[in-house]
Symmetry: C2
Subunit: 217 residues, 2 copies
């Protein structure tokens, strides 16, 4: 299987499948059909079968997919079957909120260090982590083998933080600053800007004329 053959759209759906499968496993459900997956995840079952077929022939007609096996496969494909340490830069409200998600991340992927350039924030505890100064970033990234960085600083600082992360050896960035980072081609950047989520949601609103019940339209 060649990594670069799988489209980004598929890669973005795999964690969604994984989350639902983990939920099934918790409820001790052993198999699931593409119909059930489709219904729960608001996706076409044919699309799901096609997505999963990228990774080999998992499903069995009339029985469906083996939940445990599918979880293992997806975790392997997403490299979640290895320890992945994550650094977060920006200990504001958003950084704080994201560090709370640590509980939801599988234990192999974890935010293990938090940095901020603002002196009064350094030394504070966020959950079990102590906010470190930016000067310690390079050494901590190397020591902990951190490969992924999350940027939750204001727009004006984001590029500078990205440069520092990349210099320290990070390979991938999740960027919450609503701006486009300039990065070398070997660095993978995903934008996690919630404004684009919100704007694409607006597309699905019914047209005003068909509306009723909203008095102020």
């Amino acid at each position: 299987m060649k990594s670069d053959k799988i489209s980004e759209a598929v890669v973005r759906r795999l964690p969604v499948y994984l989350r639902f499968l983990n939920d099934l496993q918790k409820r001790e459900i052993l198999t699931v059909s593409s119909q059930e997956l489709g219904q729960k995840l608001d996706l076409n079952p044919a699309q799901i079968r096609k997505d999963l077929a990228y990774f080999g022939d998992f499903g069995r007609k009339g029985i469906g997919y083996d939940v445990t096996y599918l979880i293992e496969k997806i975790r392997h494909i997403l490299k979640l079957d290895q320890q992945l340490n994550v650094a977060l830069v920006g200990a504001g409200n958003l950084g704080h909120a994201l560090s709370n998600y640590n509980a939801y991340l599988k234990d192999t992927m974890k935010i293990t260090a938090i940095f901020d350039s603002y002196a009064p924030k350094v030394g504070r505890k966020i959950n079990s982590l102590t906010v470190q100064p930016m000067e310690e970033l390079g050494q901590t990234v190397r020591e902990q083998g951190i490969r992924i960085g999350i940027i939750t600083v204001p727009d004006s600082e984001a590029q500078n933080v990205a440069d520092i992360l990349i210099e320290s050896g990070i390979e991938a960035i999740l960027n919450f600053a609503p701006m486009i980072l300039k990065t070398p081609p070997n660095i993978r950047v995903h934008a996690a800007d919630f404004t684009t989520d919100l704007q694409s949601l607006a597309y699905y609103l019914k047209d005003g004329k068909e509306e009723s019940g909203n008095e102020e339209q």
Copy 2:
């Protein structure tokens, strides 16, 4: 143009185009080619041409796209050319962080009300908004003609909040709680779970064996 003909993947890319185009407009750049767009947004130029062709024949060979015209068109398609009020439920760190994004949202789309069920939070100011009790949600949604809700409450409360939002007449939900909501088919829900963003990012990491420089792999 039929709304339901455009795939979700395209709808999700349109706000990304829009953000970049707005940036060009600010810098007084009048035209842009699909090559430039592709380079900046890490997308195939052919894909971009195909996406934009859904909405009519915008581009001109050798000149490119008219920035202002394209902005107008995308804003119209995404229904951003009308006033869209948004309610946010959950005035914690994440809710606080999101309300700061108001400045980045175009003035037609805005978080206009914040709610929380926790009494000590009610009455607090977050930017220019006062946190309201859940009991006021229905009336405020009707009075302000709010059509979109954002959920930033803990997992255990998210379904209940979704039910209340839907009952009050909201049409679309951006859900930050890392769980799958049960909603009627006429309600559009987008999951904004950052763990899935992070997990899909892991896919693009280089395989361990090829790595160097990380001492603790």
